[in-house]
């Protein structure tokens, strides 16, 4: 037997008819979730969002600038009819701060959803799992739909699920690193374990990274810097749209097993001169 299990539990009779992407009872058209930071301008962001085909965007919660009220508002450039707003707790280093920020985001927004981040270290931006699980538990009790950003650890993901998370969002690589999925095997194990949607959050650098995430069976991919930081953010957004669709379809189609040696795809019989 091949040491590589066949990827693509999808291997369905009808791979073309995909199941919808549903989180906590809400259906999304796109499996790509985008961010709203680091764009060169709000108009570029709006164009990139449109090109990405995404219908969920994550936003940060910050103090209003009291002294300078002239600045444009992010929400002027997000069509909230088409885009579901997912407030995040980016920048929070304790469970208390993350819980407080989540509550503020709920009040400022239109939903009780939160992309929960509790960061454990400034240089790596790796999550503090202990605090993350604690914050998840508290927020779920308060009625939040919690989507936690976690590390690529199947046990952490399982604990988050047990704490009531609506999805698990393991990192592919450090936030903003563009390194792609560093631990493919862990991601496959998380896929096997997870009973809630699996969203690869962070680490994507280019289209093939997003495609790989989907080929591994992720239900969705969340990215910001890979699009916003590309030289042409709008073109990269479109590339990511195709990558996510292609990767998902490849997963559903069920890939061929990996083999050590060649196997010809032309008939061996009827060769001229034999």
């Amino acid at each position: 037997m091949s040491p590589w299990p066949v990827w693509g539990a999808g291997a369905a009779h009808n791979a073309m008819k995909d199941t919808p992407f549903v989180i906590a009872g809400r259906t999304f058209r796109s499996r790509l979730i985008v961010g709203s930071g680091k764009y060169s301008s709000f108009p570029v962001m709006a164009q990139a969002h449109a090109a990405s085909g995404a219908d969920m965007v994550t936003v940060a919660v910050r103090r209003v600038n009291i002294s300078d009220r002239s600045r444009e508002s992010l929400l002027d450039y997000i069509d909230t009819e088409k885009m579901f707003i997912l407030p995040n707790t980016a920048g929070c280093y304790t469970a208390d701060d993350a819980i407080r920020t989540a509550r503020l985001g709920r009040e400022a927004g239109l939903s009780n959803w939160v992309k929960l981040e509790v960061i454990g270290d400034e240089r790596t931006l790796f999550p503090d799992n202990e605090a993350l699980i604690e914050a998840t538990r508290v927020l779920v009790k308060e009625g939040f739909v919690v989507l936690p950003y976690t590390n690529d650890d199947p046990i952490a993901c399982r604990k988050l699920e047990d704490a009531g998370a609506a999805a698990v969002m393991p990192l592919g690589a450090p936030i903003g690193s563009g390194l792609g999925i560093q631990n493919v095997n862990n991601m496959r194990i998380i896929r096997e374990f997870a009973r809630v949607p699996l969203i690869v959050d962070a680490g994507v650098g280019t289209a093939s990274d997003a495609a790989l995430a989907m080929e591994l069976g992720a239900d969705g991919v969340l990215m910001n810097t890979a699009i916003a930081g590309a030289q042409d953010a709008v073109a990269m957004a479109e590339a990511m749209k195709h990558a996510v669709i292609a990767g998902r379809l490849a997963w559903a189609a069920g890939r061929i097993p990996r083999k050590m040696y060649a196997s010809a795809s032309s008939p061996v019989e009827g060769m001229v001169g034999r």
């Binding site: 961010g35 709203s36 940060a60 103090r63 009291i66 992010l74 903003g176 959050d201």
Partner: protein, 68 residues
């Protein structure tokens, strides 16, 4: 009187409602969340909640961001 507004001291002539404070600051109440002395203040209470001397007010909104 002074309040602490988004972490900084802020001078007011007299107590006023949160709704009036937002108007004074030219902030659209539909796009922000307000914390009054560390508790979230529900939007429908802005008009009836008085900001007094020494109160701590946080006004937040959404800004661009992906992860941390």
């Amino acid at each position: 009187m002074f309040i602490t507004l988004n972490g900084d001291p802020f001078e007011l002539d007299s107590p006023l409602s949160v709704a009036d404070l937002l108007t004074k600051l030219a902030i659209d109440p539909r796009r922000v969340a307000v914390e009054h002395n560390l508790s979230i203040l529900r939007r429908h209470l802005y008009a009836d909640t008085l900001v007094n001397d020494g109160d701590r007010i946080e006004i937040v909104n959404f800004v661009g961001g992906g992860s941390s």
